[in-house]
């Protein structure tokens, strides 16, 4: 029997997103994911000084501004012909700044955005807003572990704050740091800052090792059916990131459903807009040629997100993509971390394509990044420069690809008469939460939700747990429609 449910907004994610789902006999048949906020950053950037993009694009997202600062700096380095001149110190410090925000974002995501779907905080702190109201029913962790997780929720508030304080040593301030610029970084490198950074980092590493990763295992043991829920499209994409003097921490690649890593070609990225509130003339273009012309009354559209595709295929981005790509390329540290977790929880690699697999990949990635940061600090050389001078060219094109906490991010620029002629950004959530494309193929999150069995229509835990495991960077609404009548809202739940 078909059922109709509606959830709007889904909270505890960054920004504004909507998802429309059709359910039949308790199983999701169709899901429509929709961004419900449009600001027009790409339009606002036109005609400005190219260097300003480095500051302005950070304001796309206050949770992961550093990833935009990095992508934008790489994009401008490229346009300004500086890519091969960036000093080693600048590469390392940019990576330390980005790494600090990865740790902040991953810890915030697990404890403060996702954990309340598994942990009943109100049973510990009392029926206080903002911990009530919440879904009822499926809280399975023992009272003792539940209390410990709530304690870590509070402790994690301090730790994520300290990640930002560590970032500010080289980044100036957070959110919206100022330290990363085309050509390098602005902060002066001194020995005292290295030591100061190291000991802040060590406190955060201690938390990752002794709270974050064990807590993921605790949740996994109580909810192990979530290794089978939210499988998704199984095609992963990583641009790679953390560009260091000796190579990248995250490798570049496409992972196919049979776990082969294929090489990545930037020109194969296109963006469809058939189901997006943009003029159809934009559809199917590579971001280097793309435009952004909003049309809020377009009939078949349901989202402000475009539909990025790679070689016309749907891809999932994020920690799962990065870690599995590194894993199949046999990166030793990644392999060791993943194999150790798989053995501890008693699952195979395939189980990583799931709600819990995404959380586990994120936690292990936090450890991989945090441990690597210790090495990067030791490679800094205080008697060498950390910046080269940047000059805005009259005409140029550039591209900057990197990794944000929630997945690969790309910036593309065209400069004419020393001003921005065109600027395009593709965020990881655009891939993950994309609407259907021109061939009506659902996006990655939509595919992960399709086929899901919803046990209790009054408390559809399954849906919100799948959505949050992707760490989407928007606020979200979920609509479940009747498969037969296709009408909204006959039955409405919480």
């Amino acid at each position: 029997m078909a059922t109709k449910i509606k959830i709007d907004p889904v909270t505890r994610i960054e920004g504004h997103l909507a998802l429309e789902v059709t359910i039949d006999n308790g199983v999701v048949k169709e899901a429509n994911s929709a961004g419900t906020l449009f600001r027009g950053f790409e339009i606002i950037l036109q005609g400005r000084d190219p260097r300003d993009a480095n500051r302005l694009t950070q304001r796309i997202c206050g949770v992961c501004p550093t990833a935009h600062a990095t992508a934008s700096a790489l994009c401008l380095d490229d346009a300004f012909s500086l890519t091969n001149k960036i000093p080693n110190n600048a590469k390392l410090i940019r990576a330390l700044i980005l790494g600090s925000n990865f740790l902040q974002s991953h810890i915030l995501h697990f404890y403060h955005l996702a954990a309340l779907d598994y942990v009943d905080a109100a049973s510990v702190v009392g029926d206080l807003a903002p911990f009530v109201p919440h879904y009822q029913g499926d809280y399975r962790i023992s009272n003792e572990s539940n209390a410990e997780l709530v304690d870590h929720y509070l402790k994690a508030l301090d730790i994520r704050r300290k990640c930002h304080e560590m970032l500010a040593i080289f980044g100036g301030k957070m959110p919206h740091s100022v330290g990363i610029v085309p050509g390098g970084i602005t902060e002066e490198l001194t020995e005292d800052k290295i030591t100061n950074f190291l000991w802040r980092l060590n406190e955060i590493r201690d938390f990752i090792d002794n709270a974050y990763i064990p807590d993921i295992v605790t949740v996994a043991q109580s909810y192990n059916d979530y290794f089978d829920i939210g499988k998704g499209c199984r095609r992963l994409l990583a641009y790679g990131g953390f560009d260091l003097p000796t190579g990248s921490l995250f490798r570049t690649g496409i992972v196919s459903p049979d776990l082969q890593s294929e090489s990545f070609v930037m020109d194969n990225i296109t963006e469809d807009v058939r189901h997006s509130w943009y003029a159809d003339s934009d559809s199917g273009k590579n971001p280097a040629q793309g435009q952004t012309k909003p049309d809020v009354r377009k009939k078949q559209a349901y989202s402000f997100i475009k539909s990025p595709r790679y070689d016309s295929k749907v891809c999932e981005l994020g920690p799962l993509a990065r870690m599995v790509n590194n894993y199949v390329l046999a990166e030793p540290k990644t392999k060791e971390l993943i194999d150790s977790l798989l053995a501890q929880v008693g699952i195979g690699v395939d189980a990583l394509f799931s709600v819990l697999g995404r959380h586990a990949a994120r936690a292990l990635e936090a450890k991989l990044v945090a441990d690597a940061m210790v090495d990067w600090l030791q490679q800094l050389k205080t008697d060498e420069p950390a910046i080269v001078q940047a000059q805005v060219p009259d005409q140029a094109n550039g591209a900057g690809l990197t990794e944000a906490p929630r997945g690969a991010v790309g910036h593309w620029i065209s400069i004419k008469y020393e001003k921005i002629e065109r600027y395009q950004v593709i965020t990881p959530t655009a891939w993950n939460a994309s609407p259907k494309d021109d061939k009506d193929r659902p996006g990655a999150l939509e595919q992960a939700i399709m086929g899901t069995k919803v046990k209790d229509k009054n408390n559809p835990f399954e849906l919100i747990r799948i959505v949050r495991a992707f760490d989407p960077c928007l606020a979200c609404s979920v609509h479940l429609l009747d498969a037969k009548s296709n009408e909204l809202g006959a039955f409405r739940v919480v």
């Binding site: 959830i7 505890r12 600001r39 400005r48 260097r51 300003d52 109100a122 807003a129 100036g172 919480v494």
Partner: protein, 292 residues
């Protein structure tokens, strides 16, 4: 003190409009009080906040949280504080941004800010987007974004507004303002003509800048990474009113100019159009009359 004494609670609804969540994240960075204290404890003896609605951290979702908005507006008239983060899109009937769904329709940010604003006893606009429009309202302002005061004025909403600009705002500008309200009442806030507390926004960056001596001696940085005053690299500290040099950021670790970056003027009403290009020297006209 006796924990069982009933403390006075200040219900708060925190709406997010066209913004980036950066101001919420900045408030999470508050050191003393910590965010735990803001959420769970009596912030000052006998009084505490009661954060009824905040989309990024609240446990609930869907219709019950939309009902919280309706309940607050109807049952707590004149008894709650509305906090607005992000600008308010007004073009295309507000369809560029929605808070959630109500009665099968988008509840637009504009509609929500107007309804809740009308019945609040005080509205606090946090960040430059909510106060003055900020980046979403930058040219050509594709979504018709406006700040809270402008929307209230156009719609005859008389609820007092306190403006705490910044991109993002400093967490202490928020916690300090809340402290004045809890201890002495909102009438005790000493505001300037842009409704900013003078205590935080009363002095120029340039007055308190550690590189001021370099300026006075004519020692200027010629490129990023150099020592010296950042004036020639586009520093907007000469017309930007905020206490960043004294307070510093992220628990006093650093701030923009100390990190070798020119001040972007992110608290000013003209940000970002009037402060662009960010890395070009400010003109004489901007120094004389910076406010549009």
């Amino acid at each position: 003190m006796n924990k069982k004494m009933v403390s006075r609670k200040y219900p708060i609804v925190w709406l997010q409009g066209a913004g980036c969540t950066g101001c919420s994240i900045s408030v999470l960075n508050s050191v003393s009080p910590r965010i735990q204290n803001l959420l769970l404890d009596e912030l000052v003896p006998g009084q505490q906040l009661n954060l009824l609605f905040h989309a990024t951290i609240m446990a609930g979702q869907g219709e019950p949280v939309i009902e919280i908005l309706r309940d607050t507006e109807e049952k707590r008239k004149g008894g709650y504080i509305l906090i607005v983060e992000g600008a308010i899109p007004t073009a295309q009937d507000g369809l560029y941004g929605s808070v959630g769904e109500r009665n099968g329709k988008h509840l637009t940010i504009q509609q929500s800010v107007q309804e809740l604003g009308r019945s609040a006893f005080l509205t606090i606009a946090i960040g430059t987007c909510a106060t003055f429009g900020g980046i979403p309202a930058a040219k050509p302002n594709p979504t018709g974004c406006k700040g809270v005061t402008e929307v209230f004025t156009e719609n005859g909403i008389g609820t007092p507004v306190v403006n705490l600009p910044g991109c993002p705002l400093h967490p202490e500008w928020f916690t300090g303002t809340i402290s004045v309200i809890l201890f002495s009442g909102p009438q005790a806030l000493d505001l300037d003509d842009l409704a900013r507390p003078k205590f935080f926004y009363g002095s120029l960056i340039h007055e308190n800048c550690p590189r001021r001596a370099d300026f006075d001696e004519g020692k200027f940085a010629e490129k990023l990474g150099d020592d010296g005053c950042l004036y020639k690299l586009g520093c907007k500290g000469h017309y930007t009113y905020a206490d960043c040099p004294l307070r510093q950021w992220n628990n006093g670790v650093n701030w923009c100019i100390k990190a070798g970056s020119p001040c972007l003027g992110c608290v000013e009403p003209v940000f970002p159009d009037g402060t662009s290009p960010m890395y070009e020297k400010v003109t004489f006209e901007e120094l004389v009359w910076p406010q549009k």
